[in-house]
Structures are given as C-alpha cells and as structure tokens.
Subunit: 72 residues, 2 copies
C-alpha cells in the first residue's frame, strides 16, 4: 500500500492531534498515520488518492501540500 | 444576531487560525468570529443554529462544547 507524504502547517501537539483525528475519520480506508510536528510532516498509508487524502486533511483548516509517495 | 459561545480545545495560534479558517468557509452565514486561545473560547455571530456551527468547528478535529448565547 502506498505511503503518501504531506507537509501540513502544524505548530503544536494540538495541531497534530487534530490532523490525526480527521484522518482517523476515514476508518478502514487508512492503514497507518505518522505525524511529525517538528518537520510538519504527515505520512498516510492508504489506497485513497493523494487528492482524497489532501481534501480530508484540509478540513482541519490547515494548509497542506503533497510531497509524494514516500520511498522506503 | 445571536452571539454563540463555544469552548474549543486550542493550544496555539495555529489551532486558532485553523478554527477561524474553517468558520470563514461558511461565508456570509457568519458575521463575526472571535477567538481567544488562552480561554479556549470561540464566539460566532450568526443566524446558523448552534448545532450547525458546532458541526463546522468539529471538522477541525478539535473537541468542541457549546456554552450558550453570550449575554452582552
């Protein structure tokens, strides 16, 4: 399953928790979520398209950019 | 127009900006937005129902509770 990487404008643990909760609403469609506030990086393991994932993250009101599929 | 008060789990300026952006998506349906991160208070001047406003704020992934209509 692809691991999609995004840059999300996060500045505290509360920001990270918000992003995580919004992604968790996708349920089974998302396999793994990894968030690093310092790097402002969110990786999502999912078969959903980058656009679908970006749309979901954007609901938080945070600026999101797509980096690409993460290389192992 | 009623001023609805909510408590929203916010811990930094980024959290506040997210809540503001999500409420601004309601456009003309919202007249004024006031956010105080320290008090975790969000007040919204709008004819929308508390439930509609709460639903919108909840999109951020943050915990929200409704306080009531603010007395002037």
């Amino acid at each position: 399953m692809p691991v999609h990487e995004f840059k999300v404008e996060m500045t505290c643990g509360g920001c990270a928790a918000s992003v995580e909760r919004v992604l968790e609403k996708l349920g089974d469609k998302v396999d793994k979520i990894n968030i690093n506030v310092e790097d402002r990086t969110v990786t999502v393991t999912s078969n959903l398209s980058p656009d679908e994932l970006m749309e979901q993250i954007r609901k938080t009101g945070k600026t999101v950019t797509y980096v690409g599929v993460k290389k192992e």
